[in-house]
Amino acid sequence: MSHVVSPIREKLVTGGKSYSDVTHDICKQVEGEPTKEWKWAFGISSIVFIYGAYCLFYTWWQGIGVWGLTKTVGWAWDITNFVWWVGIGHAGTLISAVLLLFRQKWRTSINRSAEAMTIFAVLCAASFILAHMGRPWLAHWALPLPNAFGSLWVNFNSPLVWDVFAISTYLSVSLLFWYMGLVPDLASIRDRATTKGRKFWYGLFSLGWTGSSKTWARYEYMSLILAGISTPLVLSVHTIVSMDFATSVIPGWHTTIFPPYFVAGAIFSGFAMVQTLLLITRVVFKLEDYITIEHIEMMNIVITVTGSVVGIAYLTEFFIAWYSGVEYESYAFINRATGPYWWAYWMMMTCNVISPQLFWSKAIRTNLMVSFFLSIVVNVGMWFERFVIIVTSLHRDYLPSSWAMFSPTMYDIGDYIFSFGLFFTLFFLFAKYLPVVNMAEVKSVMKGVSSNFPEKKKATKKTEE
């Protein structure tokens, strides 16, 4: 349905594409043989995955003593990586749910890959949760299951139990949302299929989709309700993650600003990761007409806004540490900025607070190379943020005789490498076997916004007459 669209709006899909072109362009990568670049990328990520899997297996086999943890630093890279990945996993649902509710049509060509990224990032985060338990085979103890210990239940007052529920709900609801979005597009591939295998597999997963107006009407309601419940869900997840820290009594963690500060940081890092992946995907799969400069610019604007919120949170935290008059709290912050981990703190400040401010310049936020570089800088900064919060708050506790420094072992690093291997292996599999752009949604916004489209139609009409 065409909408009333302001003429000053940029086109969402360029190149004068017709509906059929959309189907063709997106299905091409699914239907063709894997390209050489894809094979290389997949091969490298598989090797990284296998090396990481060895390190993770060794950690599970030997216990978390193989990490560089000390008496004071009981959480380090494991929880840093966990929070980092969960944060990254916020962008997909944010793009598909929050931007759906705000009727932001530009989300249609990026939501599919952003949601996929979300699911893979949450899986990476889950790997650290399992690893940091030390005995991952007892992970089900975190669930309220009847047991042989006189039915001793989990403690529902504990933020760590809240976290188990938040992350597992988030993962399963995101997966569901993503899959339901895929169904109409899988049907498109099914109906184009030339091979038996493709017809069978895409037919199986497209659930017998027909595209009837009744189904679509219900589908629209379903998407809207899923978006409505996913919006508070996505905000709840990082709020609860922040409560793992904020409900403790550790100086540097015990702050009420944590929930909004963590949520802003999560959106910030998630959008940066989506940006990194989109800039690669659009070039590799030649999707420049679908993921335009306009999309990149929009993403950069969100990065600037959330980056500024994070910056204000850092300053507020510092101010309150002084204003509270609690000397332990003040020391924790002075130690962050000037103590032995000063470099991590200033790395975080530079990457997260200063670098996104460059996007105030239109020339910078529409420059692809700069956007790509800065999106990586932001994620480096966000990793350091979590490292700073966790390690610098722990390494000097109340008893100076137990002060220590943390240095990672090859297994700390290897388990982090594992998560990258897992993430990219899954992402490349997704990019090859599933449509990377939501075709049905893109088609639904084309006529209203792509000004080329009606003109092309009118022209063909005239020649017919």
């Binding site: 529902f156 997963f205 709840s236």
Partner: protein, 173 residues
């Protein structure tokens, strides 16, 4: 749809045209079975004459069920089965239970909603629908008219009405 049914299919290539065609065809006293489209068109279901969906009610009920289950489980374990003093709080510490109850509500709503959606639309793995036109999932909008349900109008009149309303092709299946 069984293959014994006779359908006349009007194929359109524009979403606005098909939407106008629906009211035009209906005004000639022809009953439309359904319209199949590659993407959702707002107002099309109402134009065809489908009832407004009751999915939101189902979603709400699943949400209530989720909240009830979560609160029942938490209060059973924390208050009745094995009460423990944690941080000097009451056994019935409702504010602490908000996060898990909320997640339970969302989980039940999402899965209940999607299951209801799939059941009501007959969507399940392995379902091989008898598709009227393979281009529906690509770029064509297909209006299906069941001949058996339109005894009063002749097949030729139906075809003519479809053609007049802007159909680029009229097929019989």
């Amino acid at each position: 749809m069984s293959s014994t049914t006779n359908y006349i299919l009007g194929v359109y290539d524009d979403e606005d045209e098909v939407l106008h065609a629906v009211s035009e065809v209906k005004s000639k006293g022809i009953k439309i079975e359904d319209v199949f489209t590659p993407f959702p068109i707002h107002g099309l279901d109402r134009a065809v004459g489908h009832e407004r969906t009751r999915l939101p009610i189902a979603a709400f009920l699943f949400g209530v069920l989720g909240l009830t289950c979560a609160l029942s489980l938490i209060s059973y374990t924390m208050v009745f089965d094995w009460p423990m003093i944690i941080g000097g709080k009451d056994f019935f510490a409702l504010p602490n239970w908000i996060p898990v109850s909320f997640e339970g509500t969302v989980l039940f709503t999402a899965f209940g909603l999607v299951t209801t959606f799939c059941i009501s639309n007959n969507l399940y793995p392995g379902n091989q629908p008898d598709l009227l036109d393979l281009r529906i999932t690509d770029d064509k909008f297909v209006m299906a008219i069941n001949v058996d349900k339109n005894k009063k109008v002749s097949a030729d009149d139906i075809k003519k009405a479809l053609k007049d309303s802007g159909a680029i092709e009229v097929n019989v299946k």
